[in-house]
């Protein structure tokens, strides 16, 4: 009987841990800027690597690109796992979409590097450059967003 009484209490106590993290607008904006900067850093690293592959050893380049991809994935997931505040829902879609596109291009670069497909590097460098510009624009948009502190 006592066990039956403890179970609902356990469920009530544990329920909040099943919910996504719900930061306020200011905290969400800071986290979003951090994620965008981190993904942009990964994109810039991979772009530099494939543009300067003659200056790097093959294994070094592979390691560089694999780490960058892991880092970009992790940053994207961090932002996706946060519940956006109501006022940020529109930019949330744009941010997660751009980050997803960026990690996808980084993954394509990793595939080319691991396969040693250096003919694909110029095209990938162009795509990385373009997504880098989109990430810069997104970062500016996030910085211009009201923090919500005065609301």
């Amino acid at each position: 009987m006592r066990r039956l009484a403890v179970f609902p209490l356990f469920v009530v106590l544990m329920a909040p841990s099943c919910l996504p993290s719900t930061p306020d607008q200011s905290a969400w904006r800071a986290a979003a800027i951090r994620s965008v900067e981190d993904v942009a850093s990964s994109v810039a690293t991979v772009e530099w690597g494939i543009e300067h592959d003659d200056d790097l050893f093959g294994r070094y380049l592979r390691s560089l690109v694999v780490h960058a991809e892991e880092s970009a994935d992790s940053s994207q997931q961090k932002l996706s796992s946060l519940q956006p505040p109501g006022a940020a829902e529109a930019i949330y879609d744009s941010a997660t979409g751009t980050l997803s596109d960026a990690t996808s291009v980084v993954a394509d670069a990793r595939i080319a590097v691991v396969e040693g497909d250096d003919a694909a590097y110029p095209g990938l460098a162009h795509r990385l450059d373009q997504i880098g510009d989109r990430l810069d624009a997104l970062e500016q948009q996030l910085r211009a967003m009201p923090t919500g502190d005065h609301d």
């Binding site: 900067e37 530099w48 200056d55 790097l56 050893f57 390691s63 960058a68």
Partner: protein, 409 residues
């Protein structure tokens, strides 16, 4: 001639041994994010480690006794034990970071995941600590670590705007998008990376092992006064390279492979190969030094026979402590925690633990019962007291800043 060679060897070893995984990662991170605006923290850290190492080296030479032996005697068993536990925790954390750093460095050369490499290199470090001579550990890895001078060459080859870098360094010009709390956090991290306690334990315990006497003081002081500042210059050149290449690209450093990018940009594959040799030597040498420092600290506190100059069977408990700490380090790395994250934490906790050993050393260095006529002079006391204040401020600020800035994110 013999004395000159001793000085030259000591200086080279101090330069090569100054930079470890903490210096590599922290200086590159700071250069890429803050340019040279935090160069002052490295300079302060270098002055601090010179004072700290000179005092503990002088104590070792004059009294023939090592740091934790004196810490226990001066502070009593209970306070001494708390002191030991704090310092041991930081040394263990650094040991984990260094073994992980060796594995990450070798991964960059052979392409095999560090998760497969760290057990092999952990056992290799332990074998070296068990079987190799002290002089080999002290000199060979330190001298191979000089390969990192490739960062100095790269800094010149990249041809940065020196006046801009110099302006950043003297005006503390923080980038506008960064906030002051993160800037302060990285200042503490750089200070901790330059003033790592294990370097001083290793230096002074090595003095006891080598049987230094007061006749060795000039050589010891030359090593400190030349070796550490040249090592600091190496740290600044890593930051300058990152500020020149990585900062304009918008790359923030979160892995060891990004640290090598400026060298590859400046000197191509030849430069990168030399840098990789430096990464392996610096991290392996530092792993040996931290592993020994853990054994030294415990052995000295409990009054056991310790050191590399006695047979392993005679110093069995010292070697058992090293073996156990290696197992603990491998256990931590087996959780797949990122060694770079461990490194970031280790440099901050180094700053936290610094007063624990700095203060007792300052007290003993002023005690005529131990030091006779070799007690601190007035200038030394002014400088070292000033640094005691800095060390305490850094220690108190470190953890709140780490929490406030989410590890400098």
């Amino acid at each position: 001639m013999g004395r000159f060679l001793n000085v030259a060897l000591g200086v080279l070893t101090a330069v090569g041994g100054f930079v470890d995984i903490g210096d590599l990662v922290t200086n590159a991170q700071v250069g890429a994010r803050f340019g040279m605006s935090l160069a002052w923290a490295t300079v302060l850290g270098v002055i601090g480690i010179c004072l700290f190492a000179e005092m503990s080296g002088r104590i070792a030479a004059v009294s023939g006794r090592a740091t934790f032996d004196l810490v226990r005697e001066r502070l009593g068993p209970t306070m001494g034990l708390l002191n030991l536990l704090g310092s041991l925790g930081v040394s263990l954390l650094t040991y984990v970071a260094e073994i992980g750093g060796v594995a990450l460095s070798v991964q960059l050369i052979c392409g095999v995941s560090y998760l497969l490499l760290f057990p092999i290199f952990g056992v290799f470090v332990w074998l070296v600590l068990w079987r190799a001579k002290f002089s080999l550990i002290e000199n060979v890895f330190g001298i191979l670590g000089l390969a990192l001078m490739v960062f100095v060459v790269s800094a010149f080859q990249l041809g940065p705007d020196w006046s801009h870098l110099g302006h950043e360094a003297i005006t503390f010009a923080k980038p506008v998008q960064e906030n002051w709390s993160t800037w302060c956090y990285y200042a503490v991290a750089l200070f901790g990376a330059a003033m790592t306690p294990f370097e001083v334990f290793f230096f002074s315990s090595g003095g006891v092992e080598d049987g230094w006497s007061d006749k060795d003081l000039p050589v010891m002081r030359s090593n400190v006064a030349l070796g550490f500042p040249l090592g600091g210059m190496l740290s600044l050149s890593i930051a300058a390279c990152a500020a020149t290449v990585l900062m304009p690209l918008g790359v923030s450093v979160d892995s060891l492979d990004q640290v090598g990018i400026p060298v590859a940009a400046a000197l191509g594959r030849v430069g990168l190969a030399i840098a990789l040799l430096g990464f392996v030597a610096a991290t392996f040498g530092a792993a040996c030094e931290t592993g020994l420092s853990v054994g030294y600290a415990v052995g000295q506190y409990f009054g056991w026979q310790w050191g590399k100059y006695v047979r392993a069977a005679v110093a069995a408990r010292f070697h058992i402590v090293i073996a156990l700490s290696t197992l603990v380090a491998l256990g931590v790395l087996a959780t797949t925690i990122d060694p770079v994250t461990v490194t970031e934490m280790s440099v901050v906790f180094s700053a936290v633990a610094l007063p624990l050993t700095y203060f007792p050393i300052l007290v003993v260095a002023n005690d005529p019962d131990y030091m006779a006529e070799h007690v601190n002079g007035r200038l030394m006391n002014v400088l070292s007291s000033l640094f005691l204040v800095l060390v305490v401020v850094a220690a108190v600020a470190a953890i709140p800043l780490m929490i406030w800035t989410h590890l400098g994110a």
